[in-house]
Symmetry: C2
């Protein structure tokens, strides 16, 4: 877009905040420096404003990139010169929380944290949680099909969305704000917009399921010989109906040791000396019941799972200490700026073999590579960071991806579990996604956005 | 299709069973007499056979209708002269149950009952249940996005499917047999085939989540003044983490009284004298724990919810007696052959007002109308049968639909909760679904099936 169109935009959207390229250059672009590479940013305040902006851009052949909290990890919100950013943070109202129906109607720019707070007032919770909760927006989470810590129980964002409203590339509004779980009333087209990273429509409003929160939650840190052992423990707790497993995060030793050093934890402070650590969260009607259920459950499975060591947190402070080991992953970026990082789903019983295979494969590429591996045990979603500064050369990056992704699809896994494809995984998508699926995806992009107005070049390369 | 093509089909698919129209006329068509109106039925034995059949039909301009258990209630599998049935019952193998990953890979023709049995051997369950379990197939349940009794907790079929394989109208195979819950790897196109009633592809294989089963389950029958009271009870049990609510079925008095008479239950045998009855199922680690949790929970909420009467089943036989009140709905068809029946989702707190409104609206149409209303309380899915013989004249049917469906979409409900659109609700779809959604659906049908080969005229009218 040329700057000459800005006055027309200001006239069209008098209540919207509009920044030009110079203003953008002076602002914080979020997790990705490329987020603010556009000609302008427009922040409408309602669905009508978004629709007007989309129509304007379509008429002028200007491409639009929707942005939420700008916490994406795959470059899905990056922009280039001439593009316009549709900033959704002006659509920031929680329109309704229906405690009876356990449904929230929220605008796309509401942060996860704001929704968590509002729902908690009714003893409810969105059922999804992730570290970027303070800035990640519901619209962005829908657009990347975010997962997080509780997905093994509650599903990903796709499973939490009951209905949504989205502005199509021609400015029409697709409105399916269904609030019920059960609907079999024709093609469920809202799923086209979930995980589409703003390439098929701009999500403006969402109806989300809420769940009752457990009365109290207890945390344990358990040392185990391998992931298979950790999975036995998880299966034991999932099979019991007397308490509700709410988290099962696994940390392989290389990551756990790194975090222990980075956080300055002294040896012996926690049970840390094991090939794998498992952080368990368990909800129950009271704190006593939660702690007792964790202790009893671990005792019952101790021998069978070959547990090495374990501790149920006796205070919130101790629980927080356990969680920091898993969540303060920003420390990796401090030690290895822009370390190459990946996000895969590995099916069921294959975790130990997968980790052994990639450790060997990476070492074959470079003898100094010793990946940090951690993630969501119960759904097989592993995060992997390489212990080197990034970005690495393109060819090396591809070689690392091949080590990490080869065979994953055939095994039923995924090369992108919860971060999306964006720009970062576009080549991986071409190499590792089903070709019929890719053909169909390209055809659908061409059908819905024939002029390639919305977030061009993301997911599907347009050359 | 003319009969002259049958020999070529037999040559193409030597292992497939093939019936001509005469043979079809001598067989049981299932729930809908129109299911066997086709020129031929072909029963391939694998995905390759289905693909070859689709290609053959596409080349000869013959339309194909996929059929599973033929238990659909919306005419989605009905056929007409010249069409060919693709009978999926030959794809009847449970290919794998991975107890560790809690995933089943099944062919489309496997019945729900067969999968439930196979999963139970591993202490697992598909997490979805419905009365037609003995004949309904996984492929059919995927294609109608079936829901059933446990959807409020476990989601509908859409939420249970991890991956699927489908044959496209041009014979290509869309293969996305992902086994993991978390994947954000481009458009999740499998959702196009879920709930599409075989109009966009023929589902051949499915990867499904399995859940650990509770150790034991207890049942209660509770009399309450209204649905709001029943919802208070449900919310109480959902909020507790010490047991797992597995069923919450509601029966309005007119239906409950009818069933009581039809089943010959004597007064006083069960607590039946209340405006609404609630059948509750609760899972726990042992039968004692389940019964105690039901009793304690009901006692705790008794006053607040204004419970009129309640009984926790003391034996499996008594529990079965309670369940028959809800499940033996075939009695309606005996008393009122082909009674007009409907299947809606009503959001949250609106159940009592909705039922009052439709009772009055139906009475205004015909003073003798007193609908049987029952369904899945916790997700608002109500089944409604009119107490008259069917089919009623077209205009009357539409007037009944208007009473039942008007305002539902605006309130966030659905005119088709779990039965699909098929033929029966095509007009309702045109009148009550979002017009932008309908436009987009029609465009997608045109994109994927330009020659209208697969199940033409279902969901989307093709005139």
């Amino acid at each position: 877009m040329s700057a000459s169109l800005l006055p027309a935009l200001r006239t069209l959207l008098p209540t919207a905040t509009i920044w030009d390229a110079a203003e953008l250059a002076s602002r914080d672009p979020g997790f990705d420096a490329r987020n603010f590479g556009a000609a302008a940013l427009v922040r409408p305040t309602d669905t009508g404003g978004v629709a007007a902006l989309v129509k304007f851009c379509a008429e002028h052949g200007v491409s639009l990139v929707a942005q939420g909290g700008r916490t994406g990890l795959a470059g899905g919100a990056s922009t280039s010169a001439g593009q316009v950013i549709c900033d959704l943070s002006g659509l920031n109202r929680i329109e309704e929380i229906d405690p009876f129906a356990r449904v929230a109607i929220v605008q796309a720019g509401v942060t996860l944290g704001a929704l968590q707070e509002a729902a908690a007032e009714h003893g409810l919770d969105p059922g999804i949680d992730l570290a970027a909760r303070g800035s990640a927006t519901i619209g962005g989470m829908v657009s990347t099909n975010a997962g997080g810590i509780m997905a093994f129980r509650n599903g990903t964002m796709r499973h939490r969305v009951l209905g949504l409203e989205a502005v199509l590339p021609d400015g029409r509004v697709f409105c399916d704000l269904t609030r019920v779980l059960k609907t079999s009333a024709g093609y469920d087209l809202k799923h086209l917009f979930i995980g589409a990273e703003g390439t098929l429509g701009i999500v403006t409003r969402v109806a989300l399921r809420l769940d009752p929160v457990a009365g109290a939650s207890a945390t344990a840190l358990v040392g185990v010989p391998d992931a298979a052992s950790a999975q036995q423990i998880v299966r034991h707790f999932l099979g019991s109906t007397s308490a509700r497993l709410s988290a099962a995060e696994i940390l392989w030793r290389n990551f756990a040791s790194f975090m222990q050093r980075a956080l300055g934890y002294s040896p012996g402070q926690l049970p840390l000396d094991a090939p794998c650590l498992l952080v368990l969260g368990l909800g129950a009607d009271s704190m006593e019941a939660a702690r007792a259920a964790l202790e009893d459950g671990l005792a019952a499975i101790w021998e069978e799972a070959g547990i090495i060591d374990g501790l149920v947190a006796s205070s919130d402070a101790q629980a927080a200490q356990m969680w920091r080991l898993r969540e303060e992953t920003v420390e990796i970026g401090r030690a290895h700026p822009m370390a190459p990082s990946f996000d895969v789903s590995v099916p069921g019983g294959g975790l130990d073999a997968y980790v052994a295979r990639i450790e060997a494969g990476l070492k074959a590429l470079d003898a100094s590579y010793a990946p940090y591996v951690y993630g969501h045990l119960a759904d097989g979603n592993l995060h992997i960071s390489i212990n080197c500064d990034g970005p690495v050369p393109h060819e090396r990056h591809q070689a690392i991806e091949d080590v990490l992704y080869d065979g994953l699809r055939e095994a039923g896994g995924s090369f992108s579990a919860e971060h999306g494809v964006g720009l970062e995984k576009r080549e991986a998508y071409e190499r590792h996604a089903d070709p019929v699926k890719r053909d169909l995806a390209r055809a659908i992009k061409g059908l819905i956005d024939p002029n390639n107005i919305l977030n061009p070049g993301k997911i599907i390369s347009t050359e």
